[in-house]
Amino acid sequence: MGKIVLMQGNEACVEGAIAAGMRFYAGYPITPSTEIAERSALRLPQVGGKFIQMEDEIGSIACAIGASVAGVKAMTATSGPGFSLKQENLGYACLAEIPLVVVDVQRQGPSTGMATSPSQGDVMMARWGTHGDHPMITLSPSSVKECYDLVIRAFNLSEKYRTPVIFLMDEIVGHLREGMEITPEDEIEIVNRPTVLYPDPKRKPYQMKKGQLVPKMAPFGKGQRYNITGLIHDESGFPTNSNAEAEKLLHRLMHKISDNYEDIVQTEEVGMEDAEVAIFCYGGTMRAAMSAMEEARAKGIKCGIFRPVTIWPFPEKELRKAAGKLKKIIVAEHNYGQLLLEVQRVAGSMCEIEFVGKYNGSVITPEEILEKAVNSK
């Protein structure tokens, strides 16, 4: 049994990240994610890591990428306005294949919006925010405990697939304070990036052997002199204008994620065994959904919850399988209907789809979800 502590979601995110091996944090203060920077500033030098408060959000992600290039697991955190600013360099990390965890504690928007109010309005930005086609992994925690455990998985996936991972929190989870058990160290799986030190100088830095998921990465200063660029590059790491090479690289980047869907995608299903109505929700909305489900069950409605833990890639296989047995899916999210589009795409022809959305800074109540469940045909 691990130690039981009272902790806030933002703090748990930092503790989990440190447990995962994060030793570098670069950030800029922004509500409601600031506690992540504050705790990193306090904790990192205690464990031999580095914290830096950068001059802006763009510099923060750039700095974290730099640290990762030097071989250190790095993280940055922000909220909506800052997440908008980070998008260009997020794409850089995708293309150059630099492991990195980017936390977005979502707040109401657009623009400055309502800085202290919850939202889940950045779901599509997490997937499509940076320009150009790119792969993306996004995970969404729904409790303080999950902030701790899932951020470890975010680091592991980032290292394994050499790609940035978005840890998509929301104000509800970030500022929630609850008791949690610290996962004992021996129960934590840590994945480190495939690394190559002092290789054959002829080795091409982005070359892959058969069966390898990603090219091995040489930390700067550890023996291989090579080039990293945000330009389309070939295996040598140098820019190319070849359409064939561009296609090859883009194809490889997209497929390293899509071919490993089973490894990356996680969902949680509660009461889905006999469910006829499912609440589709994620992040902080889970709590209202749990109450709604219990109340619906008390009224004799066979209600369950389908929660994507991995938001991107979207868990379409799991949802399709679940939808086959359902009469209705109630999509509950704190936005104007973002993952609703994905649910409609995947399950729209299989069952009725209803929507409970909140985008005014208030939270979805169990009653609002329950109402849609009760009025089931």
């Binding site: 580095k50 802006d56 990428i65 030097a70 700067f220 660029t229």
Partner: protein, 290 residues
Amino acid sequence: MTVNTGDVSKKTQKMSDLIYKYMRPEHLPHIWCPGCGNGIIMRDVAQAIENLGLSRNQTIIVSGIGCSSRAAGYMDFNTIHTTHGRALAFATGIKLANPELEVIVIAGDGDLAAIGGNHLIHAARRNIGLTVVCMNNNIYGMTGGQYSPTTPTGEFGTTAPYGNLDRSFDIAGLAYGAGASYAARGSAYHVQQTVSLIQEGIRNRGFSIIDVASVCPTYYGRKNKKGSAVDMLKWQRDNAVTPEQAAKMTPEELHGKLVIGLLHHTQYPEFTYQYNELIERLAKEREDHE
């Protein structure tokens, strides 16, 4: 590419040695226009590294976007070609993550002082141990000749068809004002002096900036009737004044002159060194407590 090593003078031979040692000949010739000053400045950086005997494996070259940024790809070190304006922020991460590394940033005037201006003043303020070499050509060359933060007032660019209304930045002065511990200015013409200024910048333990006047005959020169590349280099020769001379000149006399040399050098604790001291202090406090 093949470098002609047959039947050349000793001096040329020495130069191609430098190419083979510090450049990636397979990626040459470079993309810069004939007459561009950037190649000279890139060579100055390589010469400074040679003179200091830096380890190639431990030296990192970081660049942003623009003409200057292509230098990273040609130089045989650990090189990273980052996003526009952000070279200093990437470099900050590399240096702080591993302070053992020698991190040199090559940037252009637009890259460093416009889109990257915020990173410039704050990296200088932190006095983090980076050496910045600015290939300052007074124009956005890669995009075809728009006015930059160092285009002199009244001069022309494709986006200043009636003359530039803005005042221009003194990049070295800006960085020094923000807290850089070393600031100097060189030029594409003054090779020997620029090499030694870069060398001293690398040796300085803190944030160093060497603002090097490049020449862009293709865009800046053509738009402003500055003549050929050689004419532009001769202009640098004929209009250079030392900081000592400049101190005695009036602002009117200084107008249109290039102040070349060491501008400022002070001692101030370096950021990553201070951070490591913090880590050691916390470790010791914990030990004492236990």
